[in-house]
Amino acid sequence: MYLTMRQTRRLKLGITYLLLVIWTIICLFPIYWLIITSVKLPVAVFQGPTYFPWIDFQPTLNAWKHLLVGPMQNQVLRSWFNSAVMAPTSAVLAVAIGSLAGYALTRFQYYIPILKWRNNDLAFWIISQRMLPPVVVILPYLIMYRVLGLVDTHAGMILIYTVFNLPFAVWIMRDFFANLPRDLEESALIDGASRLQAFRLIVLPLSSPGLIATFLFCMMFSWNDYLFALMLTFSRATTMPMFVAGFGTQSYGPQWWFLSALALLTIAPMIVIALLIERYITRGLIVGAIK
């Protein structure tokens, strides 16, 4: 039996939707599982998997209460607010310093005589910093931070996240500025504005989509970091990922209901960022810079 062309097309479309729905479930199920586990009683967790609240188990807010208003309150809130202060602050700094450099690399000519480097070599040197596995430089950081008294401080963590995000910020902003028309800033320069004035008053306002997208990405990288926090903090400046990771390795075994709630508190801001960032990514802002 042969299918008509229309039937073949409908069959193909049907398979496409089926696969799309399957992948949607795969993407969302882990988050759903965290949500339902966080409202289960310990006994319900250990009885084996159950899937629907009120149908195969009775939900409870015990775990959430224990973490947010109960005995764990101080530790949880401190870690969360540490992350919520350090990630955006370092992202703002990385975007500020990174956009200055990104702008410079598209508007000025640089030449370093000893290395015979020009703008493109400088840009490549900056982005190549991201190739470096952090574990290679983490011990020197630790020694450096001990000497400078920066271990377990907010300033120290903001500094390290800023530097860690800088190559990415320079790269994306450089690509963005390269595509920005120059007429407006050049007429401002002719009218007697300094470079910095032209940059601040004309270029930056025109670049807000690039700045926002880069900020969101830097914020995500900082928020999600675990290695730097693990090496350089222990109590005052601990971050949320570090708190979650440490919580599961306690001696009485993993308490999944608490861990699920903590994991949700950790990923909640990132879900918001994912919703915000999608439009910038699909507009080609970030993707363009990769090519």
Partner: protein
């Protein structure tokens, strides 16, 4: 692409600019723009990189009070070459990079092809499919531990309902690494997908028109048109993802801690344990440096292979 073009344009227009009375390239403020970034990067990457290299030639053991810091030449590297545990971590890291990056690329390409069709709710699918790569790996690792849990996890439960066997995802030493690769694939497929989707959307429609006129079927179109045209961007994202995958630390530390035994212990975790838990800074630096060497060799080999293939294809 655009940056290359901008760079070429800048090169072409440079002499004219220099001739201007208030030339752009002679503006003294240009250093104010670039220096903050360059100084920070020099301080935080070049200095530690050399410091770390120096450490690798020292015996600096925090666990021993006497002895202090001694220069021991290549001794750390000699120990490294004879360290079976190190070679195991190297194997784990390479297997992980190879497995995870290929799986992520294949799945990402598949999902991108699905999304590139004329479908409804595309925006919704894109947002949902993008989500995993934004989420904190340490938290994702816990979700993974619960989902793959042998007795109480839903994955084994669903397999059981379908009549399949109970799989010891993380307690079996030969399955633990593939399980880690699955979790990493969940997290990082979106990166491949989003870039490949943008690549697919930028392909010129005329070529497809021509292929359809010539009577090419879907597979032929994909094999001879779509895939070759995606090759440059594929090379780039595979390289980017591989460079990131070599840094594997968060997911494995939380999910398996390197176990069972040392079956899933990557180089990064070994360096961390030697440096932080044992306080042997010199040896830890030698291990970490060997990772850097591995990264450089692998990416050079990969690019060489790609170039050879490109030359062969051109002939």
């Amino acid at each position: 692409m655009s940056t290359n073009l901008a760079g070429q344009l800048a090169k072409v227009s440079a002499p004219q600019e220099a001739a201007r009375p208030r030339g752009i390239s002679s503006d003294p403020s240009k250093h104010i723009f670039l220096l903050p970034a360059v100084i920070l990067i020099l301080l935080f990457s070049l200095f530690p990189l050399f410091f770390s290299l120096a450490l690798a030639f020292l015996s600096w053991d925090l666990s021993r009070l006497t002895g202090g810091v001694r220069f021991i030449g290549l001794e750390n590297f000699i120990t490294l070459v004879n360290d079976a545990r190190f070679w195991n971590t190297a194997r784990v890291t390479l297997t992980f990079v190879l497995g995870a990056v290929s799986l992520e690329y294949l799945v990402g390409l598949g999902v991108a092809l699905l999304l590139n069709q004329d479908i409804r709710f595309r925006r919704f699918f894109r947002v949902v499919f993008l989500m995993p790569m934004m989420l904190t790996p340490a938290a994702v690792a816990y979700a993974g531990r619960m989902l793959f849990n042998e007795g109480q996890g839903p994955i084994n439960h669903i397999i059981k309902l379908l009549g399949g066997p109970q799989i010891p995802w993380f307690s079996n030493s030969s399955l633990a690494l593939p399980s880690l690769i699955l979790v990493d694939t969940w997290e990082w497929t979106p990166f491949m997908m989003i870039v490949l989707l943008a690549g697919l959307q930028s392909l010129p429609p005329e070529v497809y028109e021509a292929a359809r006129v010539d009577g090419a079927n879907d597979w032929q179109t994909f094999r001879h048109i779509t895939f070759p045209m995606l090759a440059p961007v594929s090379v780039t994202i595979i390289l980017i993802r591989a460079l990131e995958a070599f840094k594997l630390f968060d997911i494995v530390t939380v999910m398996t801690g390197g176990g069972p035994g040392t079956a899933t212990e990557p180089v990064t975790l070994y360096a961390y344990l030697v440096g932080m838990k044992n306080g042997n800074l010199g040896y830890a630096s030698a291990i970490a440096y060997s990772l850097l060497i591995m990264v450089i060799i692998s990416s050079t080999l990969f690019l060489k292979l790609v170039r050879q293939r490109a030359v062969q294809a051109a002939e």
